[in-house]
């Protein structure tokens, strides 16, 4: 009696690969007809890769976009934490609070801001403005400086009658540095009535955060000026707090500590004092980003599932068309478990190859998405200028809604997850053909011969 070694994986991989992908081209003595002739499985690999590429692009671009927008909100507008103050709080109390907060572990800066609304007017037009009264600490903050691009002039109004405008507000008003702009705000109510308050400002600078939705209507003045101009019933004053890690778990801890300080100083009892994290402040905005991203990923994931089902279908067709070869293997002593494993491994290998190729292409495109989009945009505009010289230039990503430069954030956890799920789904859809192959009876060969 012969000794047969235990079942091993290597021959299954060999047979599965050769069945599904044919003879490798290199050093092959196979006739052309037998070299990699099972195009269906290279096609399945291609199908899976092609379906994965947009998933990566959507994921990394949306992650980068959301991260970029979030960073801009946090560093240039909301800060990481906001301690809201009643408008009438004294300067001493505010400074004392700022000092105390700066003493907390993990806090890197604080600044005072007063926000409100007004109407900016110039000979070029008028538009509603988001009045931001900042102090010097805000503009000195590295995060603020990192994301604020100064188109012209200065980043901060040095005088009380100076203002720094957002790029699109300046464009709408048709003003530049040195021009004057009138800001109309509402005065305090007097005998139940409100009166407009007109103030003329010299434009000291024009800035952009790189995200028009955020800075379109910025009208930046000194905080003292804002306190003077804005109506207390509509204005909002706060101490903006920057921390070492706005995304980490320490943020809530710092918020609690600030709240404790308010309680200890008795300020928490005064209406208007409250502490909020950036997640609370812009909750609806980030929830909207998150749900949009989830929807896009879901749609892309469906494409992967369709590609995997195609793989399962191709494998099933292969098993049906190659029953005789499978029966030959069974007659030669290959077990039903082995034949099933061949197709299971083959399906998983197809998925793996597809996932690896798709991941490589997807990551590459994601890395160079800005250059690729610029190239496509330039090509479209070149062709459209040729065909219609009077046509307006096309902008693929409208800066009204998107960042002007997409920051790409590659997350290896997502890559591992996508590749893992891709391989698992491929193996899963291979179960049906695998089971089918295991049921092929070797006796079919005898009937074939009769």
């Amino acid at each position: 009696m012969h000794t047969i070694k235990a079942h091993r994986l290597q021959p299954l991989v060999f047979l599965g690969f050769r069945f599904l992908f044919g003879k490798p081209l290199r050093n092959s003595s196979a006739p052309t007809a037998h070299r990699g002739k099972h195009g269906a499985f290279w096609g399945a690999v291609l199908g899976i890769s092609v379906s994965i590429v947009p998933l990566y692009i959507v994921l990394f671009v949306s992650n980068g976009m959301i991260q970029g927008i979030t960073d801009r909100y946090l560093e240039t507008k909301t800060s990481h934490l906001q301690l809201s103050l009643p408008l009438g709080v004294s300067g001493e109390t505010r400074k004392k609070l700022q000092q105390d907060i700066l003493g907390l572990k993990g806090v890197i800066s604080t600044s005072f801001e007063v926000d409100g609304v007004g109407l900016a007017a110039s000979p070029g037009g008028s538009v509603s403005a988001q009045v931001r009264g900042l102090d010097r600490f805000m503009v000195a903050d590295p995060g603020f400086k990192k994301f604020i691009q100064v188109d012209s002039g200065s980043i901060f109004p040095e005088k009380q009658n100076e203002a720094v405008l957002g790029r699109y507000l300046a464009k709408t008003l048709g003003v530049g540095v040195g021009d004057t702009v009138t800001l109309i705000t509402l005065s305090d109510a007097y005998e139940g009535q409100m009166f407009p308050k007109l103030n003329v400002f010299r434009v000291a600078g024009i800035v952009s955060s790189g995200y028009r939705e955020l800075d379109a209507n910025w009208f930046i003045v000194q905080s003292e000026t804002a306190l003077r101009l804005l109506n207390p019933s509509t204005a909002h004053a706060f101490i903006g707090v920057k921390t070492a890690d706005p995304y980490g778990p320490t943020l809530n801890g710092i918020a609690s500590e600030i709240h404790d300080q308010l309680v200890q100083s008795g300020l928490s009892a005064i209406p208007g004092f409250s502490i909020r994290t950036w997640r609370d402040i812009e909750h609806s905005l980030f929830a909207s980003f998150s749900s949009t991203k989830s929807t896009l990923i879901l749609i892309m994931a469906i494409a992967i599932i369709v590609a995997a089902i195609n793989l399962g279908s191709a494998l099933t067709t292969y098993v049906i068309e190659h029953r005789t070869e499978i029966a030959v293997l069974r007659a030669c002593g290959v077990s039903s478990q082995q034949t099933a494993s061949i197709f299971l491994l083959g399906g998983a290998a197809t998925g793996t190859l597809g996932c690896i190729a798709g991941s490589a292409v997807g990551i590459f495109i994601s890395f160079y998405i800005n250059q690729i989009l610029s190239g496509i945009q330039a090509a479209i505009n070149f062709v459209s200028r040729l065909l219609a010289p009077a046509s307006h230039p096309v902008t693929l990503l409208n800066p009204d809604y998107y960042l002007e430069h997409i920051p790409i954030s590659i997350d290896w956890n997502y890559i591992i997850l996508i590749v893992g799920v891709g391989i698992a789904v491929s193996a899963l859809v291979s179960l049906v053909p695998a089971v089918k192959s295991s049921r092929v009876a070797p006796a079919e060969l005898i009937r074939h011969g009769e």
Partner: protein
């Protein structure tokens, strides 16, 4: 007297076709000594191929017993039959059934490789068997590049890769021209000696039937020894 390597007792096999029941084997007895060549003849539809399939565990039988090289087939569960097939029997069919996408060497080596031989061992053994069947220089040719006789010789080499105790051949010359059939007959005749095996041949070919040490006629579900 040698212990028979194949011994069938009261072997019964029927096929149902609608309401009709076909009695292929009716309490048939059969035995064959080790190292012999046995040819089985019989009219078409008499059940020769079915008998071969039973010996190779490709078909189950209704009742009786089949013992081959110590294996009692009636007691082997379905899931263990592959062990019997890979270690005890080798098949040669009327059609070569070579895998078209694999060359001759790979076709021969695969059952050994799948049975647990290392890749080197399987390929080495396959090359030796191709030498044995006279196809040393055709090892890297694909089935489409081989003649009918050559394909059938590759199929014989494949049947021998796991050093089976019994080779079962079903009309191996059935699809061959006269010259190729003659070459194959000669090879089959030498097989028990060179491969240390026992050969059971089902054939219609009287010349092939003559190479047997014993010949049986399968008729009406029973074996009749005719030589």
């Amino acid at each position: 007297m040698n212990d028979p390597i194949i011994e069938c007792r009261a072997l019964t096999k029927t096929f149902s076709s609608g309401t009709e029941v076909l009695h292929i084997l009716e309490r048939a007895d059969f035995s064959l000594d080790k190292g012999k060549i046995c040819t089985i003849l019989g009219p078409s539809g008499s059940g020769k191929s079915t008998f071969l399939a039973i010996l190779g565990s490709l078909e189950r039988f209704d009742s009786g017993s089949v013992r081959i090289d110590g294996y009692e087939l009636q007691t082997l569960p379905e899931k263990s039959l592959f062990v019997f097939r890979r270690s005890v029997v080798g098949f040669v069919f009327q059609f070569h059934f070579l895998l078209n996408d694999f060359n001759a060497l790979e076709n021969v080596a695969l059952p050994g490789y799948m049975a647990g031989l290392s890749r080197n061992e399987a390929w080495k053994r396959a090359q030796e068997l191709l030498d044995l069947v006279g196809l040393r220089n055709r090892a890297h040719h694909y089935p489409s590049q081989l003649s009918g006789g050559e394909r059938q010789r590759v199929a014989i080499a494949r049947a021998l890769i796991n050093r089976p105790s019994v080779v079962l051949a079903d009309e191996p010359t059935g699809n061959l021209d006269a010259a190729s059939a003659k070459e194959l007959r000669s090879l089959l005749q030498r097989l028990p000696n060179v491969a240390k095996t026992t050969l059971v041949l089902v054939t219609h070919d009287p010349e092939l039937a003559n190479i047997g040490d014993t010949s049986f006629l399968l008729k009406d579900g029973h074996f009749e020894c005719i030589r």
